[in-house]
Amino acid sequence: MKRKINSIILNVVLILVGIITVYPFVWMVCSSFKQNSEIMALEQHLLPQVFTIDNYINMNERFNFLRFFANSLFVTIAITILVAYTSTICGFVLSKYKFKGRNLLFGFVLATMMIPWCVTIIPKYTMIQEFGWMDSYKALIIPAMFSGFGIFNMKQHIATLPDEILEAARIDGANEYYIFHRIVLPMAKNGIFSIAIFQFLWSWEDYLWPYLVINTKEKQLLAVGLKMFNGQYSTDYGALFAATAISIIPVLVIYLIFQKQFIAGIAASAVKG
């Protein structure tokens, strides 16, 4: 009986927190179907009084939003795959190989996580200009290829894999490439998923850097596009909310699909670290 009451209370509390969490989203989605005058009107209703899908239509006509969406998807996936791979291989080398300067290198990787974006962004920008990478996806993808956070996590994760399996493979005559690709990679699957989801999220949301290096409108990314609704004298809230509603879909979908692996991956790398 007591257990039952506890369960009800707990569920009610969780649902309440859930409502608080979700309400701003509901508000945002509802507002994306309102006209701007209604969004700012004194009389506020959650549901649109005059239902309109103009925001969604305008958004695409004025900003070619779906193009941005596709660009973002491409760049984000490319970075995510690259980072997942480089993090795993670096993590493998740092955790399973012994060599001089290994700890120094690892300590350095840790330190990179602490450097605020503002320190490096200005010089990085001038460098990209000199490399002639401006306005190309090279400027987005190459500087993001390695991630201190990713390497750190994968190192912790791979350290938990038993050495015996690797040794057995070595005795069977497998070379290191085989060991990495066929044994370590599949075994570190959960860790890779969690890194991939983190990375996907960050790249998807990253605003300042793509905005600085990409000029051509056709190549621009979604997060930058969100800012386009901010005019000189006013903000087009309806279109902004419509765009946001669409922009969070892929991240949510990916998170929902890989939830289990994501959590298992975090568990393996962080808890035992």
Binding site: L66, L73, Y125, Q129, Y211
Partner: protein, 455 residues
């Protein structure tokens, strides 16, 4: 599990590709150009544009034009120009306002900056190093446009203003009538203004229902930086470099604002986040706003029936009525290839000589035309927010392209006074110090001394 993932991924990718498909098909529809009449005779006042003269020897050339917002307006000029010169292609690049100012200077600093770009004088210092002087003779510009002198740097002009924007009072006609007010009651002085505002204020006990006047979030722009001129005090000292924001005039203006809310009770710092929105929401009866507000009212707040009158003054013959700011013409990138620069220069000449375009631009921005021949143009005077300016338009001062710290520091001072309980003297002195510090490396010099009625 795997099947499920694959299936979901497929659905997602299908949905995305479907959406993208729709996207590209709708955008191609906008490419259709409207037919533009091609002039064959030279037009313009002193600055004449001759459409017969070929540009770039008739060879094909493509240049980029950068601007923020209002694509249609710019496309119209481009279409008109390219109809005369079919060999020229002008690519319009639009960046949102804030981003424009981060990105444009960085892009001009690099190799592939646009040949021609829209200028706003508040970002003068970030752009001037990248601009080529206009090729149109200075005397011609001076003959056709007002306010050119303020833009002369070492005998050269890099851009001028096509329109002047300033503040006027917008009032809600329904509320006006409900309070028993008529056209006769339109205030000329601030004292009258405060009386009218009291009549327009509605309260339920202590709670404000309707504010007579609302200046939340824009007092620094629309009151503090401008009303000082009515009292005969400039924003900068005679050297043109030292700010003068802790002057007696500024304190008087600030004190008046505080009294309006705290003594008269015609509004409140917590009533309506922004005066401009509050007026649109039908909560405030009057606001002082700059020209752009006219368009906001037309689009966002179309159900407000409003009227416009000239800004009140402290006494009958003020030194000047208010500050104005110019909407600027384009700038030419001095690092662009010579042939592109030539097109850019020609394009600007076309823009300045063409009356119709000048009118379009001024109406779109609700700015008073700087082109002298358009000051009594019918179409311009049809816009009430411009019509009320016509009589005293020569009594407005442009201080030059002030560094943004003037606005931000005064905004901070005002917020400190209203919300943080700081006294006026302290807050304005602090603003003064802030501005001096921020302007340490600035090259700005005030052009208040170029005001036609300067004493």
């Amino acid at each position: 599990m795997k099947k499920k993932i694959v299936a979901m991924l497929l659905v997602v990718s299908l949905a995305v590709s479907g959406l993208v498909g729709c996207g590209s098909s709708t955008t191609t529809g906008t490419a259709g150009k409207t037919n533009v009449e091609v002039p064959t005779e030279p037009f313009g006042d002193t600055i004449k544009y001759d459409p017969v003269v070929e540009i770039n020897d008739g060879k094909d050339i493509t240049i980029e034009l950068w601007e923020w917002g209002s694509d249609d307006l710019f496309q119209q000029v481009i279409d008109g120009y390219t109809a005369i010169h079919p060999n020229v292609t002008i690519k319009l690049v639009n960046n949102p306002w804030e981003d424009y100012w981060t990105k444009l200077p960085l892009s001009l600093n690099g190799q592939n900056g646009p040949a021609i770009f829209n200028v706003h004088n508040s970002y003068h210092e970030n752009l001037i190093n990248y601009m080529a002087p206009l090729e149109i003779p200075l005397e011609d510009l001076q003959a056709d446009f007002t306010g050119v002198d303020a833009h002369v740097i070492d005998g050269e002009v890099y851009y001028i203003d096509y329109g002047m924007m300033t503040g006027t009072v917008y009032y809600n006609k329904e509320m006006w009538a409900a309070a028993g007010l008529t056209e006769e009651d339109i205030p000329k002085t601030w004292d009258e203004m405060r009386e009218v505002a009291k009549k327009l204020t509605i309260k339920d006990g202590d709670r404000l229902i309707q504010a007579g006047l609302n200046f939340n979030d824009d007092f620094h722009q629309n009151y503090l930086l401008g009303l000082n001129y009515q009292l005969g005090t400039n924003l900068f000292l005679e050297d043109g470099r030292t700010p003068n924001v802790n002057s007696e005039a500024m304190k008087q203006v600030m004190q008046m604002l505080v009294d309006m809310y705290e003594v008269d009770g015609i509004g409140s710092k917590d009533f309506g986040e922004k005066g401009a929105d509050s007026f649109g929401q039908g909560q405030s009866a009057m606001v002082i706003q700059w020209g752009h507000y006219y368009n906001t009212l037309q689009t966002t707040w179309s159900n407000i029936d409003f009227g416009v009158f000239e800004i009140p003054t402290f006494d009958e013959n003020p030194y000047a009525y208010n500050r104005y700011n110019g909407e600027s013409t384009f700038g030419v990138n001095k690092n662009a290839p010579a042939d592109q620069q030539a097109v850019a220069q020609d394009f600007i000449k076309y823009f300045l000589a063409n009356d119709e375009i000048q009118i379009e631009f001024n109406l779109a921005m609700s700015t008073f035309p700087a082109k002298k021949s358009l000051a009594d143009n019918e179409k311009i005077l049809e816009n009430p927010s411009l019509a009320v300016l016509a009589e005293h338009i020569d009594r407005y001062i442009w201080p030059g392209s002030m560094p943004s710290t003037m606005e931000t520091s005064l905004k901070k001072a005002g917020q400190d006074i209203f919300y943080n309980g700081v006294d006026i003297d302290t807050a304005l002195n602090e603003a003064q110090e802030n501005i001096i510090r921020d302007m340490e490396n600035s090259t700005f010099t005030s052009v208040e001394n170029l005001y036609a009625h300067a004493e």
